[in-house]
C-alpha cells in the first residue's frame, strides 16, 4: 500500500511547495509510529496530539478497505496539531478533504514521524502563497471526530498564529455536495422505517 512511497532512507522525494498536495507521493515516508484500523477518528487524532507527533497521518477510508476505490488521504501534523489535509481519492483540498473523509469510518490510519525541518516549508504560511490544503487546527477533531473536548485541546495546543481557513468551510463543502447529503437523508429514512418495524412502531409511521 505504501510501495510507491520513497523510503525514509531512500532518495528524497520531490520537494513540496504550498501548491503541491501533501500526498504520500511527495512526502518522505518517515518513521512509522502506529498503524491500525480505527472505528472512530478520535483515536488516531488524540494519539497524535498526546504524542506531539510531527509528521502525517495516512488515512485509507473504509470504502477502500472494502475493496472500493477510496484512495487515500493525508493530514499533516506539527507537534500533534493538524495543519494540512488532502484527499487524493477525491482530489479534495483542506476543508473539502475533511468533508470528503467525514463519516468514512472505519479507516486504516498509519502515523508517520518526520523531522520538523522536512515539513517546515509546507507548514510555514509565510513561505509561499496561501496553501489551499490548510485546515483550522481543531477542524479534524470537530469535523471528523465530532469531539468537542478534543477540538478544545487541539486549539489550546496550536500556536496563536496558526489560523486555518474559515471555521465552517468543511461543513460548507459537505453541504455543497447535494448527492451526498441526500444519501444521508435517504439512509436515515430507510433506518427509521426498519427500526419502526423492529420496535413495533409501524402503525405510527406516516404512510401518506
Amino acid at each position: 500500500m505504501t510501495g510507491d512511497a520513497p523510503d525514509a532512507a531512500g532518495p528524497s522525494p520531490t520537494p513540496a511547495s504550498a501548491s503541491t498536495p501533501p500526498s504520500t507521493d511527495r512526502l518522505p515516508r518517515g518513521e512509522l509510529v502506529r498503524a491500525g484500523v480505527a472505528t472512530a477518528f478520535v483515536t488516531p487524532l488524540s494519539a497524535a496530539l498526546d504524542d506531539g507527533l510531527t509528521g502525517y497521518l495516512r488515512i485509507e477510508p473504509g470504502e477502500a478497505l472494502l475493496g472500493g476505490d477510496g484512495g487515500e488521504a493525508v493530514v499533516t501534523l506539527d507537534d500533534g496539531v493538524p495543519v494540512l489535509a488532502y484527499d487524493a481519492g477525491g482530489d479534495a483540498d483542506g476543508p473539502a478533504a475533511l468533508a470528503a473523509l467525514a463519516g468514512a469510518e472505519p479507516v486504516r490510519v498509519e502515523s508517520y514521524r518526520l523531522p520538523a525541518s522536512t515539513l517546515a516549508a509546507l507548514h510555514d504560511p509565510a513561505a509561499d502563497a496561501p496553501t489551499p490544503f490548510r485546515v483550522a487546527p481543531d477542524a479534524p477533531a470537530r469535523e471528523l471526530a465530532g469531539d468537542d473536548a478534543l477540538a478544545e485541546r487541539t486549539r489550546a495546543a496550536a500556536p496563536d498564529d496558526r489560523e486555518g481557513p474559515g471555521d465552517h468551510d468543511a461543513l460548507a463543502a459537505f453541504l455543497a455536495d447535494e448527492e451526498r447529503v441526500e444519501a444521508v437523508r435517504a439512509d436515515a429514512r430507510a433506518e427509521a422505517r426498519a427500526r419502526a418495524d423492529e420496535w413495533g412502531l409501524t402503525d405510527q409511521l406516516d404512510t401518506e
Binding site: L98, A99, A102, G103, R142, E143, L144, A145, G146, D148, G166, D167, H168, D169, A170, L171, A172, F174, L175, A176, E178, V181, E182, V184, R185, A188, R189, E191, A192, R193, R195, A196, W199, G200, L201, D203, Q204, L205, D206, E208
Partner: protein
C-alpha cells in the same frame, strides 16, 4: 390549546437542554409553557433549572406505583414556566415504567399552550425516539459541524417518517462566522433555519449556577440570539384533547 415540540439533536453536546429552557422562557412571554425532561436516561434539565434538590420528579411519576403521585407534585413553577424535571437515580430509572410517560404528558397537555420535550441525544431505542414520534413538530438543534449536522438530518428524517413536522433548525454553540452554512442547510431541512446562537461562556456559567441562560445572563449575545430564535417559532395551537389523546394512545415504549 397546545402544541407539543420535541427539542432534539441526535448528537449529544449540542446544548439541547440549554436550548429547551431558553426557548421555554422566551415563549413564556407569549404563551403558557411547560417543559418536560423527556431524556429519562441522561436527565440533566434539573441541574439547569435549579431543581437538583427537587423532592418529586418525573421518575416518581414513572415508578410502578407512580399513579399514587400527582403530576402537579413533580411540576415546578420556575422563571415564568412550568418545569417537570427528571431525577437521576439509577435505581429509580431501573424501576421506572416509561409507559406512564404517555399519561403524564397527556395530563400536562391539557393545561398548557406549548409543551417542550427535551429529548434524548440518540435515536437508538424506542424510548429515545418516542418524543420525536409523538410531538407535533421537532426543533432540530445542531452544532455547525459535519457529524452534528448529519445527526440533525437523521432526526429530521425520523420525525418526518412519523409524520412529525419540522419547526426548523437551530445552529447552537457557533464559533466564528457561519458564512453560507445557514442558507445551504435550509435546502435540506423541511423547516426554516431558526437562527444561530454563539458559543458562550455564559451558557456554561448559567448551567453551573443552576439557572436557565435567559435568567442568568439575559443580556448575553447567546440569550439575545435564543430570543430571536423563539420569535421565529410560531406555535400552532391544537385542541388540547388531540395532543393528550395522541400521547394516551401511543404505543407502549419498552422498559429501559
Amino acid at each position: 390549546m397546545v402544541e407539543a415540540f420535541a427539542v432534539a439533536s441526535g448528537k449529544g453536546g449540542t446544548g439541547k437542554t440549554t436550548t429547551t429552557l431558553a426557548l421555554g422562557m422566551a415563549l413564556a412571554e407569549r404563551y403558557d409553557v411547560t417543559v418536560v425532561d423527556a431524556d429519562t436516561g441522561m436527565a440533566n434539565l434539573l441541574f439547569h433549572a435549579g431543581l437538583a434538590d427537587a423532592p418529586v420528579t418525573l421518575q416518581d411519576l414513572l415508578a410502578p406505583d407512580g399513579s399514587a403521585v400527582d403530576v402537579a407534585d413533580a411540576t415546578y413553577e420556575r422563571h415564568g414556566m412550568r418545569v417537570v424535571p427528571c431525577g437521576t437515580s439509577l435505581a429509580a430509572f431501573e424501576r421506572s415504567d416509561p409507559a406512564r410517560l404517555r399519561e403524564v404528558v397527556a395530563e400536562l397537555a391539557a393545561d398548557t399552550d406549548v409543551l417542550l420535550l427535551d429529548s434524548p441525544a440518540t435515536l437508538a431505542s424506542k424510548s429515545a425516539v418516542l418524543p420525536v414520534v409523538l410531538a407535533d413538530r421537532v426543533v432540530v438543534v445542531t452544532q455547525p459541524t459535519i457529524p452534528a449536522l448529519s445527526d440533525a438530518l437523521k432526526v429530521q428524517e425520523y420525525a418526518t417518517s412519523y409524520g412529525t413536522g419540522v419547526a426548523g433548525v437551530l445552529f447552537n454553540r457557533v464559533r466564528g462566522d457561519l458564512g453560507s452554512v445557514e442558507s445551504q442547510a435550509e435546502r435540506y431541512f423541511e423547516g426554516p433555519t431558526l437562527g444561530s446562537v454563539p458559543d458562550s461562556d455564559a451558557a456554561r456559567a448559567a448551567r453551573d449556577a443552576g439557572e436557565p441562560l435567559l435568567a442568568h445572563a439575559p443580556d448575553s449575545d447567546a440569550a439575545r440570539a435564543f430570543r430571536e430564535v423563539a420569535a421565529g417559532v410560531d406555535p400552532e395551537p391544537k385542541a388540547a384533547g388531540d395532543v393528550a389523546d395522541r400521547f394516551r394512545s401511543a404505543v407502549v415504549p419498552e422498559r429501559p
